[in-house]
Structures are given as structure tokens and as C-alpha cells.
Symmetry: C2
Subunit: 195 residues, 2 copies
């Protein structure tokens, strides 16, 4: 880590980004705050995207111990189990996964070095504090460190959005249809912010 | 269709794009030409992306009758089965799916109107006839019609690439790791070519 910081000064180099895949607190279709289930393919896909875009960590946020064990088991299969030998490229990707109980735990882990960072929430719906892709991109590159939060189910709970420094505008395709899978949304967002 | 063509002249309006999700002919990890299995989540995800980016059809190309029936069953669940009522937004997306035996059948269906179109292959590997994203984007918008082919398994067979008018350059993230899931690659490519 220190080597990387030496190579890439925060104000001019490539920013250090972490991603939070949040299963709690999120809202369901009725707007109620819930804990959503793990979707293992999201963990796989996002890990591979994170590796491609040089993201430093993929935090999977869930307080459910059985779900934490599931994610750890999947990650272990690819990092030290049979999968590590069968598919070494996946080993590199799944090695980025960190399972945490809560957003607080995630931020404590990420901010352990004490350097400033931005907390950026994503939403398919819009709302207050919404910034455009170029604005968020500039802010990330200027600050040099950021955590990007993706909500599962029907999105991040209001309490999470309230804590964020910025809310990224929704992706607009070319139609008025806006039901991208989270896997696709993450790919497009990373490409727009980091490529 | 004719109404759409009236509204969007081919040379100045939004292009009409179709996508081919190709399971035959593709290559396996040893470079042998094979037929790959259907991955139903790819059909779901790509249909939702197609709807978002106003793609006219998602052709699922496989000669295997049992796999064709699987795709049709999944699509039917969401277009006229229980899923159509449960999740109407997915109905719109899955309605774009067309199952075909071969690339020839796909092109016959797409070109039935007789208008010119580009056949564009994608590849994670590069090769001859490679064009950059801006070049392919310009060509699509100038021609007004195109079919974009995505290979499953380890990519499109050479015979398919040989037929294509253009080969789209691989996506480069910011690291030298290049193992994006096809679901993520499609999202990024549609965003770069059409947004």
C-alpha cells in the first residue's frame, strides 16, 4: 500500500477506490428497510470488474452470519481451493473481497490510514445531493480516495444516502426504461468514472 | 418498424441495433470450435440492457433444440407467464429475445427489410480488422443499422470474425487484468457506442 502511495500521489495519480456492495440497510419494493440476500454471481462479477478497474477492495456488507460464511466460502474456493488452480485469473479477483458486518465496519477498515476520502452513494432513483458523472469523476480524482456504495434489493436506505458526501446521478440509457441489473450498472459506472 | 424509420432517418437518427449472443460457433479454452451452453442469467441481463439502450432484438444463437426450449421457456415465463404480472418491466425486456439456429438465420431475420447493415464482432483478444470504439460508433451511426455479435465461452470462432465488417477493440480497464464477465462487457460496450 505504501509503495502504491509513493507511486501515485493522491492529488495527481490514479485514485484509490473501494466498493461497498450493501445488503443492509437497503429498502424493499415497499420502501421498508430490510436485509437482502447475497447473490453470489454479483460477488463474482463485481470482483472481476474491481480487478479490471484496479479497485482496492470489494466490501460485501451484511450482518447475517450465514450469508457471510457463504461469501467467504465462495471466495475461498477461488483463492485457495480447487478454483485457484483451475482459474488463476479468478483468484486475483476474488482476493479483493472483504466481508463486513456493517457500513461502519467497512469505513473503519478503509479509513484505517486516516487519509480523507469521499463516500459516494449510487441510486437508480435520483434525489438530493445528486451530482453528474463528470462532477463525481472530478471529485474522486481530486480527493484521491473514495468508497462507492451500491445498494442491492431496491436500493440503499435513506440513512445511508444521508451519510454520503455525494449521490451519483442514475444511469440513463437511451430509452425511458431504467431497470439495469446491478451487475451492468456497476460496469458502466466504473467505466465512466475511471477509464 | 416503419413508423420508427419515418421518425429516425438512417443517416441522421438513432441507429437500429440488434445483438447476437452466440453459442455456436465459438471456441473453447483450447481454441477448438464448440457449441457452448446457455447461461440464463446472461439472457436476462442482456435483455434488460437491450431494453435500456433501445436495441431492437436480442438473438440467442444456438442449434441445440433443448437449449432453445430452455430460453423460450424463460422468456415465456416473463412475457406471458406468472412473471409478466409479477414484474412487468422484465416483460418488456424479455420480449426482445429471439431464438435462432445459426448466425445465418439471425442475419436473414434482421435483414428481411433489405436495408444495409454492419456486422460487428467483439473480441477480448484483438486481431485483424480491429477498430476503436469511436470508429465503430461513427460507423454505426453513419450506416444506421448494425448487428453486434458477442461470443460466449472463449469467444467467437474465426469463421464468424472473418465474416464481420468490423472487429471492435477489446475493453481495457485501467489494469492489465482483462477478464470481465460478458454481462459487464456488454454493458460497457453499449454505453460507449450508444449513450
Amino acid at each position: 500500500m505504501s509503495k502504491k502511495e509513493d507511486s501515485y500521489p493522491a492529488t495527481t495519480g490514479r485514485p484509490e477506490l473501494a466498493i461497498g456492495l450493501v445488503h443492509n440497510p437497503v429498502v424493499n419494493k415497499y420502501g421498508e428497510t430490510v436485509t437482502s440476500s447475497i447473490t453470489t454471481i454479483d460477488v463474482h462479477d463485481m470482483a472481476r470488474m474491481c480487478k479490471t478497474f484496479d479497485i482496492s477492495a470489494l466490501y460485501v456488507v451484511t450482518p447475517l452470519k450465514s450469508h457471510q460464511r457463504l461469501v467467504e466460502r465462495v471466495a475461498k474456493h477461488w483463492t485457495s481451493g480447487f478454483g485457484a488452480e483451475y482459474n488463476p485469473s479468478r483468484k486475483k479477483a476474488l482476493g479483493l473481497v472483504k466481508v463486513v458486518d456493517s457500513i461502519d465496519d467497512m469505513l473503519n477498515n478503509f479509513s484505517s490510514e486516516g487519509r480523507a476520502y469521499l463516500l459516494i452513494a449510487t441510486s437508480g432513483r435520483g434525489g438530493d445531493k445528486v451530482f453528474s458523472f463528470p462532477e463525481v469523476r472530478n471529485a474522486i480524482w481530486e480527493t484521491g480516495r473514495a468508497v462507492l456504495l451500491f445498494g442491492t434489493a431496491h436500493g440503499l436506505a435513506g440513512s445511508v444516502i444521508g451519510r454520503a458526501n455525494m449521490l451519483l446521478e442514475p444511469i440513463r440509457g437511451v430509452s425511458d426504461y431504467n431497470h439495469l441489473p446491478v451487475r451492468a450498472a456497476v460496469a458502466i459506472i466504473l467505466d465512466r468514472l475511471l477509464s
